[in-house]
Subunit: 110 residues, 2 copies
DNA sequence: TTGACATGAAACCTTTTGGTGTTATAATGA
DNA sequence: TCATTATAACACCAAAAGGTTTCATGTCAA
């Protein structure tokens, strides 16, 4: 898919297959063929998804014998969490927002 | 880009321009041309980004006179927050994880 | 009514995505 | 040693992403 460093963590989680891979690796370390067995796509396609996840530093692979074992590295997801935190006030403060609107409405009446 | 409903919220936030648009709209409602003035891309490209954001229900547009005013609708971002919450244990529990590892190491020594 | 402004819509272009298939190489196990 | 297993490394492909340009249409303000 790609050669150099390109994909960031936002792009990495954009694909449902990649999100599923992250979920699989949250429980256990898995070889490429084991990951592939969970999907209906080819091993080659899985490897490309793993490459993108690697570029985003979300997974790492380690060669063990003839297998390559992948494992989760969740820390980069904090970047998304941080980005999200800015927008949290727009749903967390729904009640205070409503309160504010009601108060202003009463001022209009007065 | 697309006609029918296709893009989900994960795809919508994958693009940095779209994330910037969401940020712009968090302060104020803006017309298409006003949004465009913040970027170095054409109005047409901005409209396509707005369409994708609309499909993900993250923004809505309202025609006012000859302008089309867009505004933020942040609630769908909770889907990302919820997804993220599953992985939070992998960075929040770093200290407990370390504690666990140290304890196991001592057991190995014994 | 006439421009200037704001948008809509279509056609087109290039690069990236998400897949496939094939071939080659390395480790395993009987 | 030999067939099997697990990957790596390519080449190839259709469709989607992200842009652009061009032209048409609706609206506001004189």
């Amino acid at each position: 898919m790609t050669a150099v460093k390109k994909h960031d963590v936002f792009q990495a989680i954009a694909d449902p297959t990649r999100r599923e891979i992250l979920y699989l690796l949250s429980d256990q370390r898995l070889a490429i063929s084991e990951i592939t067995s969970h999907f209906s796509i080819t091993r080659t396609a899985v490897v490309k998804h793993l490459t993108i996840l690697s570029e985003a530093k979300l997974v790492s692979g380690e060669k063990v014998g003839r297998e390559k074992i992948y494992y989760l590295h969740a820390e980069p997801l904090t970047e998304i969490k941080d980005w999200l935190s800015y927008f949290e006030r727009f749903w967390d403060n729904k009640l205070s927002m409503l309160k504010y609107l009601v108060e202003n409405e009463e001022e209009d009446k007065a």
